[in-house]
């Protein structure tokens, strides 16, 4: 049971908002030592873990070009474009993004959208542009909310789209584990089909919550601030 202390360190650390790097580093060292690794093996585990997980950090490669475009007004242009579509509210826009993200992930195209590639440079300014057109200048709390929901649309779309695709890691993990451990034979296609009902639920639940943003953003008392702001700009 002692090794579960590492889990406790993580939960307590995140709950008290300590620096996550220190929390995770400490939990790793503690769990490793309690689990019977030598200090040298713990060090090696950090090294091999880093080497094997480099692919989660590679989105950094898109930052120079995105930064260059942002310097040249990419986000301003994304805002301007969206304000031309009268019917496009922030909720409808984000629900559309969710649908697109889910469909492309279901076709196996996981990395064509993402937080660095599409959410920051395109989806967030477009969502904010749509919200500003209807509600006027956004107070910081509303801006935070719109951005958080833009990130959530990307995550939900990815997670509950990718499993509909046959060759994704999680499906192959299931077939690999089950077929070797239990000497049976599961086809990736069967698993992918079973992912469809949950994918539809995800689209319905999160899509509905995104559409509802249009009403909740308007709600008092924050909405009154936003409406007042709009009058001021009109003057």
């Amino acid at each position: 049971m002692l090794v579960l202390l590492g889990v406790l360190v993580v939960v307590a650390g995140f709950a008290t908002k300590r620096n996550p790097l220190l929390v995770v580093g400490a939990a790793g060292i503690a769990t490793g030592l309690l689990g019977g690794l030598s200090p040298r093996q713990v060090l090696a585990a950090f090294g091999t873990g880093f080497a094997a997980s480099r692919s989660v950090t590679i989105f950094a490669i898109t930052l120079p070009i995105i930064g260059l475009l942002e310097r040249n007004g990419l986000q301003e242009q994304a805002r301007r474009i969206v304000t031309r579509f009268a019917g496009l509210t922030v909720g409808r826009f984000l629900a559309l993004y969710l649908l697109l993200r889910q469909l492309t992930a279901a076709l196996g195209l996981n990395s064509i959208f993402g937080h660095a590639q599409t959410v920051r440079p395109l989806a967030v300014p477009m969502a904010e542009g749509a919200a500003e057109r209807r509600h006027g200048p956004l107070p910081p709390e509303i801006r935070e909310k719109v951005r958080s929901f833009a990130a959530s649309a990307d995550n939900v779309g990815l997670f509950f789209g990718e499993d509909v695709f046959l060759a994704v890691g999680s499906i192959l993990l299931i077939t690999g584990f089950v077929n070797t451990t239990y000497h049976t034979h599961l086809e990736p296609l069967q698993l992918a089909l079973w992912a469809v009902p949950t994918a539809l639920c995800a689209l319905a639940v999160h899509g509905w919550r995104l559409l509802r943003l249009d009403r909740t953003l308007l709600g008092a008392p924050l909405g009154t601030v936003a409406r007042k702001g709009r009058k001021e700009t009109a003057r």
Binding site: V42, S53, T198
Partner: protein
């Protein structure tokens, strides 16, 4: 053949160049610590090539990782003044280039798409052009490089240092969050080596009441949810929970549909990914990238959806799969 490792070297090289820019940046009060952090990250990316193929010892890299944790965790890193254009300049530039600005931005997904679907099948002299199994990562990398070239030509920007400075500002504003996803993946690996999974299996089996099916579905799905939240992804949770509950109880005893039980069980785990800071690349990195004040903003936006979908998964599994 274009190898994934080349691409990691490119990323490492970019980190090193940015580290040099940070060292020279006198507007950053902590420029030495900041440059050391990103320099170590860049060197680590390159050195990892030989750790991954086991031709170099992993311990020095582990020490470097812990040094980065110390540098960032104890506040030795900071950020300089952002080098960017004034809002008026941006607006003027948006006016001038208009929607052509989207061309380089959309080049990244477009090239990634072409690589993932088309170039994947190409081979020259019997060797695939893109290293097998890494097509999407390579597509993203090639897309970013092509987009940079397109963007610099289109905007008539001749100095490569301008996009690098712009990217460096974003990196500095994200700071240590950049390292967290990799560190969490490491923690997951240490957890499984140390036998955390075995303990969780014991707990799950001990709370399992008798032979009734519905409670077993709940234990399997909620177990996947919680264990995934603790580990940061469903991959570590799946074998443990399946060996404890999914296979012996739901499939063998209750004669459930194997594909249905396992696929929906994995998706119950994905609900856990939506609510945990342990899945830093999905939940904490975007908060930094989008400059949110509340680093748990995305998690808060996802929590109701995650709980509702956990309920959906339990319902789907108990109605249709067992």
């Amino acid at each position: 053949m274009i190898k994934a490792e080349w691409f990691f070297w490119l990323v490492g090289g970019i980190f090193l160049v940015m580290a040099a820019q940070m060292l020279a940046d006198r507007t950053n009060p902590k420029r030495h610590g900041t440059a050391a952090f990103w320099g170590l990250l860049g060197l680590g990316f390159v050195y990892s090539t030989w750790v991954a193929d086991k031709s170099a010892p992993a311990e020095p890299l582990g020490a470097a990782v812990l040094a980065m944790v110390g540098l960032a965790g104890f506040g030795f890193t900071g950020r300089g003044a952002a080098r960017t254009a004034a809002p008026e300049q941006r607006a003027a530039s948006a006016e001038r280039f208009g929607s052509r600005l989207f061309v380089p931005a959309l080049t990244i997904p477009l090239v990634a798409l072409v690589c993932a679907v088309g170039v994947k099948r190409l081979s020259v002299g019997g060797e695939p052009v893109l290293q097998k199994g890494n097509e999407t990562i390579l597509g993203l990398g090639i897309g970013a490089v092509v987009a940079l070239a397109v963007g610099m030509v289109m905007l008539r920007e001749k100095r490569i240092s301008v996009p690098l400075h712009a990217g460096r500002s974003t990196l500095e504003s994200m700071g240590w969050v950049m390292l967290l996803p990799q560190l969490l993946a490491t923690l997951g690996a240490i957890f499984s080596v140390a036998g955390v999974g075995e303990q969780v299996r014991r707990i799950a089996t001990s709370v399992l009441p008798g032979h009734s099916v519905f409670p077993a579905v709940v234990v399997y799905c909620v177990g996947m949810f919680l264990f995934t939240a603790v580990m940061g992804n469903g991959f570590a949770a799946f074998p443990v929970m399946t060996a404890a509950v999914g296979w012996p109880v739901l499939i063998e005893q209750a004669h459930g549909n194997a594909a249905g039980v396992l696929a929906v069980g994995m998706l119950a785990g994905f609900c856990g990914t939506l609510v945990t800071p342990m899945a830093a690349n999905y939940n904490l990195a975007p908060a930094a990238l989008l400059e949110l004040r509340d680093q748990y903003g995305p998690i808060k936006a996802q929590l109701p959806t995650a709980l509702a979908l956990l309920g959906c998964n339990i319902a789907i599994m108990s109605l249709f799969a067992v």
